[in-house]
Homo-oligomer: 197 residues x 2
């Protein structure tokens, strides 16, 4: 990362890439210190020594900054509404296939696993992750589908556990089985949680 | 742990508690070095400088040593057969209630979470955990119930994810909801995986 190397002295005008990286470095610090809920675009801009409008320009939303700061493969607050659209009776299947296809790519999966690793060992990261999860994932699904939050959490737990067994513990056969077999096995579970209330 | 302090020079005869602790310290080292599958009671006895019969006397099985070495709250190879007995149509409910009641006690839960924490960050611990999981949990259930292994893994993933959300990430409402509400929500999922093939 060489974050230290990116830090410039106040007064020197950075290039565009420098500025973006500087905002990301500032965001990492602010999210770790304050968590997701209490972090603000204004506070991140202040930490980076730039105008808040510039932060908006690069990242649009606080979710967008968080996704960039942690190199997450997708912004759930943008992707989820697309997956939740379409026939309600197939929402389980769409969600399972999307998550397993996304995490099949190591480059997409690694930042997520890195976040899980640090969340299991660091209380600051736990708090930040919990708040982002609640705002960007759970609330979006709960509001869009009109289901009790606990049902979305059960669905999330199922998929989180599968991804941990498949890619971290790497237990067979779940580590090697193909995506479509897992879709067949798991979609009815997710559908039961997320289907009509 | 003060494992170093427990190590004695060859020749000095230890008390009974010393011997048991010495075997446990040796087992931790052997499991970490060799994993669960390749570790043997004989190898652990050699590492501890005691007779294999003594290891058998204290712990009966390799699973028993592993459980003691990691301070796990129960030996799955002993507990699972009891839970799997009884009406097949209620196996999901029995398993969910057992796991959530067991992990409700922080003293029982902490060693399990400690194992998860080190498994997410340490490849040796991953291998050891994967092998123990496969032998002492997955194989037992698969053989007793006669189901495809992937179904047991899906059930394990569901419960693992729930315990992580409830006790590590502590997302609400799943962190605070009572056990019976979770049994009602989750038992049909586990029943679907573990019920009649």
């Amino acid at each position: 990362m060489a974050e230290g190397a990116e830090r410039r002295r106040p007064g020197r005008r950075p290039g565009l890439t420098d500025t973006r990286n500087e905002i990301i470095a500032a965001a990492r610090k602010v999210f770790a210190d304050k968590g997701f809920d209490k972090a603000t675009i204004r506070g991140i801009a202040r930490e980076a020594g730039v105008d808040p409008a510039l932060v908006h320009h690069y990242f649009s939303t606080k979710e967008g900054i968080f996704v960039a700061a942690l190199s997450l493969p997708a912004d759930p607050s943008k992707v989820l509404p697309l997956i939740l659209q379409g026939p309600r009776e197939e929402v389980g299947e769409r969600l399972v296939r999307f998550l397993l296809t996304l995490t099949a790519d190591p480059a997409a999966r690694e930042p997520v696993l890195a976040l899980v690793r640090s969340a299991t060992t660091n209380e600051q990261v736990v708090a930040m992750t919990r708040e982002f999860l609640a705002r960007a994932i759970l609330d979006t699904v709960v509001e869009t589908l009109g289901i009790p939050p606990i049902r979305m959490e059960a669905a999330f737990a199922q998929m989180f556990g599968v991804i941990m067994l498949r890619y971290v513990l790497r237990v067979e056969p779940i580590a090697s089985v193909d995506v479509e077999e897992l879709v067949e096995l798991l979609a009815p579970t997710i559908q039961r949680y997320l289907g009509e209330p």
